[in-house]
Symmetry: C2
Subunit: 220 residues, 2 copies
DNA sequence: AGCTGTGAATATGTTCACAGCG
DNA sequence: CGCTGTGAACATATTCACAGCT
C-alpha cells in the first residue's frame, strides 16, 4: 500500500499541496466524497489545470468524469508532505514570537509536536509552558539527542541564530524553521525555511506603490 | 523628488531587494563605502549575476571596476520598496500572534507604524498596548478612516478573516498582511500577502522526507 | 457527457558570458 | 585590469488544449 512518491515534486507544488490539504479537510468535513480540479482550484485560488498538474505528481487516481475521491486524495497529499506521522519539534526562543508559536493550535493538528522549549535567559529557564519546562539553550545538543528532535523552530535574536543552527545541525536536527532575519548556513542535508516578517510587509509596501495612487494621498 | 520607477520589478526580485536592504544596512554599519555584486550575493545567499540583474531594475549606477556605492544603493532600494516614508498600520487581533507582531521591533525600524490595535473580544478592548488603546473590531471602518490606515495586519481566527478583509478594503485599506490560513478575496487594488506558518513547517517535513528516503518506500 | 492526465506552447525566472566603461 | 550591465541561452513554472477513460 501507499506507493512511494514517484516524481520529483517542485517547491511551488509542495506549497500548493499544503493549501489543497486544508481545502480537502474542509471538503471532507462538509461531506463531499469527491472533488473536481475546478472546485479545488477555486478554493485555494489557482487554476484547474494547475491542480491537475500538481496532483499528477502524486500518481494518477482521479476518476475521469467524476473528480478525485476526497478521502484518498487526503491520504496521498498527507503522505507527500510527510504528515503520515508526528514530528518531534523543539522551540528555541521563549520570547513573544516563541510564545505565539508554542500556542499555535494548527501545528499540533498537523502532527508537529513541540516537545521541548529552550531559552537563553536565566529568568525564563524553569518556567513551564503547557507542561513543558523551559531549559537553558546550553542544553541544546543534549535535548536534541535525548528528546530525538527532528525539527527546530528558531525564534531568537538574529545574532544568536547562526550559532544555534550550527549546533543543532551538528546534533542531528533535520530541519529548521527560522524566524530570525538572517540567512543560515547549514549542511546540505538540513532543510531550512526562512520566515521573514519584515520582508512580507515590504513586499506589500512595494505593491501599494506600484498600483494606482491612493486618492486620499495629499489630503491632510 | 519622487522616486522614478523605471522597470517592472518582479515579485522574486522585490523579495530579494528586501534581503539586499538588510545586508546593505549591515555593510554601511561596518563602514563599507562600496560593495561588489559578488560580496552582496554572498551575504544574502544568491549569485553575483542575480544581484546585478536585480539591481539593474533600479537603474544603472554601479561603478565598473569598483562596485556599487553603498549609501546611494541603500536609497534606491528603499525607494523601490516604498520605504522612503512611514506607513500607518492597524493590527486586528490582539491574541498571541498579534501581541508578538505588535512588539516586533523590525517593523518600526522600517517605517511601519502600528497606530491602532483592534480585537473582537470585549475583555481585550480597553487594554493599552504600548500607548495604543485596543478598540472593538466593530470600529474598524471608523479607525481606518480617522487614523488614515493604509496597511492592515490580520491576526484573527480564520473564520473571521474574510469579513474583516472585505470591510477593510471597503474602508480604503491598500494592503493586508494575513496570518489566518485562508485565501482572502479582495478587490484587485488591495495588495495581499499571506503568511502561512503551518505551510512552512509542512514544506520542511516534505524536504526531510525527500532527502533520506524512508526505507519502507523502496518498493517499485 | 464530464472530467482527468499530459504533451506542447507559452511565460517567467535564472545563469552564462562577454562587451565596455571606469 | 575589475567589475557592471545586459542580451542570449537555459531552466522552471504555468497555461492551453485535447485525447482518452468512466
Amino acid at each position: 500500500m501507499a506507493p512511494a512518491v514517484i516524481r520529483k515534486i517542485s517547491d511551488s507544488t509542495v506549497r500548493r499541496l499544503s493549501l489543497y490539504l486544508r481545502a480537502l479537510e474542509d471538503l471532507g468535513q462538509e461531506g463531499s466524497e469527491t472533488v473536481s480540479s475546478e472546485t479545488l482550484s477555486a478554493r485555494v485560488g489557482t487554476t484547474a489545470a494547475q491542480v491537475r498538474k500538481d496532483l499528477s505528481a502524486l500518481g494518477s487516481f482521479g476518476k475521469r468524469g467524476l473528480g478525485y475521491p476526497v478521502a484518498s486524495l487526503l491520504d496521498r497529499v498527507r503522505d507527500a508532505l510527510g504528515l503520515d506521522r508526528t514530528w518531534r519539534v523543539a522551540l528555541v526562543g521563549a520570547g513573544r514570537i516563541g510564545s505565539a508559536l508554542h500556542a499555535y493550535p494548527n501545528f499540533g493538528d498537523r502532527g508537529f509536536r513541540i516537545v521541548s522549549v529552550l531559552d537563553r535567559r536565566p529568568g525564563r529557564v524553569g518556567d513551564v509552558w503547557g507542561g513543558v519546562t523551559i531549559r537553558g539553550v546550553e542544553e541544546l545538543e543534549d535535548v536534541i539527542r535525548t528528546e530525538r528532535i527532528e525539527i527546530l523552530i528558531l525564534a531568537v535574536p538574529p545574532e544568536a541564530a547562526q550559532d544555534i543552527a550550527t549546533r543543532a545541525a551538528g546534533a542531528g536536527v533535520r530541519g529548521i524553521l527560522n524566524f530570525a532575519p538572517v540567512r543560515l548556513r547549514v549542511p546540505e542535508d538540513v532543510a531550512v525555511n526562512e520566515v521573514n516578517l519584515t520582508l512580507e510587509l515590504e513586499a506589500i509596501s512595494h505593491a501599494i506603490r506600484r498600483r494606482i495612487p491612493d486618492p486620499r494621498e495629499g489630503t491632510p
